[in-house]
């Protein structure tokens, strides 16, 4: 396990793969696997130890909503508001979660374990931690590591699937320039978005509530200091704590099992299904749209809510075929819709399986 921790740090430092997460997780893995004499009150599973106290945020599930608060305060929903149909791409990409759920069931996992594993396909680390801490605490370490690893691998996993599913003509589609969104619309969005989603899926309240609350802090224009704190120091602190404690919790006896291998395989599958579903959905959606409103299917992958990595992948692949076709702003729409979609999906799984 110490070796795995070192590999994580190596990948983060040399390859720049999600360094903000892989460095704390990697170091946490090393800390958590130092042999200890029981009773010293220093281990993460020893009640009252410092690490155990910090781990409460993961166990009780209050770190992920705080991260969502920061994400909300950082996110600009303009792309989505200016073109609301992009929301549906975010919904389609959630097929990854439920596809992986079905495969996990077929592999012999219990429904609650399958639900926790499936959420890896949502490509949202905090959501994966939140749900696994509720549904399958024993698998949380493997699920979190798997989720963050695949988020770092988005630029490797998604492009082949995107290229496979699209024709050259489709990759060259130029989307209509998004209209300017008024400040009033930006203020209304978090309130209406929260009310609607929370009433439909109340079990997603902690994540959705904090996401939209953070966004309201940003867009209200009168709570700049709070928004800055949520999107800056607060999210940094929580990211450090969540990373190190999740890393510490992955102890060899619990982590080095065949189940973990299964989780890693299912994680990769769920990412592939999500990308596949997102791109395919856009292709089908285009059949019903007028020529001037057509969507470039290369932004379909961005429904996987790895913000902003998957949107960046859409943009870069688009540029490979047309140097003047900038897809980043368009791809940010399904990308942030994916964040909402994965939080809603997590709420549904929690409602069904807890």
């Amino acid at each position: 396990m110490i070796l795995i921790g070192l590999v994580f740090i190596y990948l983060a430092v040399t390859k720049d793969w999600e360094p903000m997460l892989l460095v704390p997780i990697g170091f946490g893995i090393i800390v958590g696997n130092i042999p200890l004499f029981p009773g010293l009150q220093v281990g993460i599973y020893e009640e009252g130890s410092v690490l155990n106290i910090l781990y409460q945020g993961v166990q009780k599930g209050f770190y992920p909503p705080l991260i969502f608060l920061g994400i909300g305060a950082m996110t600009d929903f303009s792309a989505l508001i200016s073109n609301p149909k992009l929301l549906l791409i975010g919904a389609a990409a959630q097929f990854g979660i439920f596809g992986a759920y079905a495969i996990a069931l077929a592999m012999g996992f219990n429904p609650n374990e399958a639900g926790a594993i499936g959420i890896i396909g949502g490509a949202d680390g905090p959501t994966a931690i939140f749900l696994s801490s509720r549904l399958a605490p024993d698998l949380m370490g493997a699920i979190a590591v798997s989720a963050y690893s695949y988020m770092a691998l988005v630029p490797v996993i998604q492009p082949p699937i995107m290229k496979l599913l699209t024709s050259k003509k489709e990759r060259l589609i130029r989307m209509k320039k998004p209209r300017t969104v008024s400040p009033t619309e930006k203020k209304i969005f978090p309130i209406v978005g929260f009310l609607l989603t929370a009433f439909i899926v109340p079990s997603g309240l902690p994540l959705l509530g904090m996401l939209f609350f953070g966004n309201l802090l940003k867009e209200s224009g009168v709570t700049k200091r709070l928004a800055n704190t949520a999107s800056g120091p607060l999210i940094d602190i929580v990211t450090i704590l969540i990373g190190i404690t999740v890393g510490c919790s992955t102890q060899a006896d619990k982590f080095l099992q065949m189940k973990s291998v299964g989780i890693f395989i299912l994680g990769a599958i769920s990412f592939c299904i999500a990308t596949f579903a997102g791109v395919l959905f856009v292709k089908i959606f285009n059949l019903f749209l007028k020529d001037e409103n057509k969507i470039n299917p290369l932004i379909g992958n961005a429904g996987v809510s790895a913000v902003p990595d998957s949107a960046r992948v859409s943009h870069n692949i688009g540029l490979q075929y047309d140097k003047t076709n900038y897809l980043l702003m368009h791809a940010m729409g399904p990308n942030v819709a994916g964040v909402i979609g994965s939080a809603v999906a997590a709420g549904i799984l929690l409602g069904f399986l807890s």
């Binding site: 929301l87 975010g90 919904a91 959630q94 439920f98 759920y101 079905a102 219990n110 209304i188 609607l196």
Partner: protein, 333 residues
Amino acid sequence: MRKKISYILLMCLILCAFNAKSQNMTDMRLNEIVVENTDGFIDDYGNRSSWIEIYNTSYGTVDVAGCFLSDDPNNLKKYRIPKGDVLTKIKPKQHLLFYTDGTPDKGTFHTSFILDSTSTEVFLVNTNGKDIIDHITFNPALLSNGKSWGRRVDGIGSSNKTGVMARSWRISQSENAAEGDNGWDVLTKVTPSSANVIDDKESKLILLKEKDPHGGIMAITAMSVVFFALLVLYFLFRMVSARQMAMEEAKKIRREAKAAKKSKPNNANVTVNIPQGEYTDEEIAAAIVVAIELAQADEQIHDVESNILTFKNIKSPWGNKAQIMKQDPQINR
């Protein structure tokens, strides 16, 4: 005015606080009773006595200190649960037992009245001694030989008190549910301070595994909900977006109309008089633009004939080199 608003807000807060407290109390339920304890539960003094079990149906800890227990509808304040004992706090979904042995001097959980074969009712009353939180009636003849009378599912089912909600949808799930059934029954097992039935969490998952072994139903249901949630959001924001665009368009038109009204010359029919032969086309165009701008700004720079801009040659010092050159310093000798 500000003071008034502060008072109103304060009153609202106080009312909310009272309401919250009251709400917690009303989440308490009488859950199980034994009137003839022949070979069952023994208290801390080694005695077998009748008992009443209270269950906290809420998701928060509730302190029942100050509430009343009684078996007499004419005297609801028979036994006041003492304050100052931390054990009167009932954690969420937990139980608390009171021995109805008529010996309150033995401690908080020994009531001043005795529940026996003559008793037919039990009341749990709020701290004001008037509001009945829960009330049950029973037939003691059915409860001989240590049998208990309890809710088939903890906290679920109606009480006999008018106004307490009957969760009949849950009761109707029971095989024994008959018309008028309020969720109470003679229990097959006596379960002091513990659940009357085992939690069905495990069975729920097993059932899910049995009914949906491949996860197809779950996937379809969940995806439908995700799509529905985002579809509603899509339609709503499409409407908001359309409305916002219409409002902006209307605003723009209003602004333009206002500007047109404000500007005195009608720009569509402006006659321009320019001295001939001295200027290039670019200079003329620039002059027209500046003149129109100044006219719209309502600065009376040009002459005042309606719809006519007249340009005159003005000898500006800025164009006269001789005038703008500094004088050489003079030296007085």
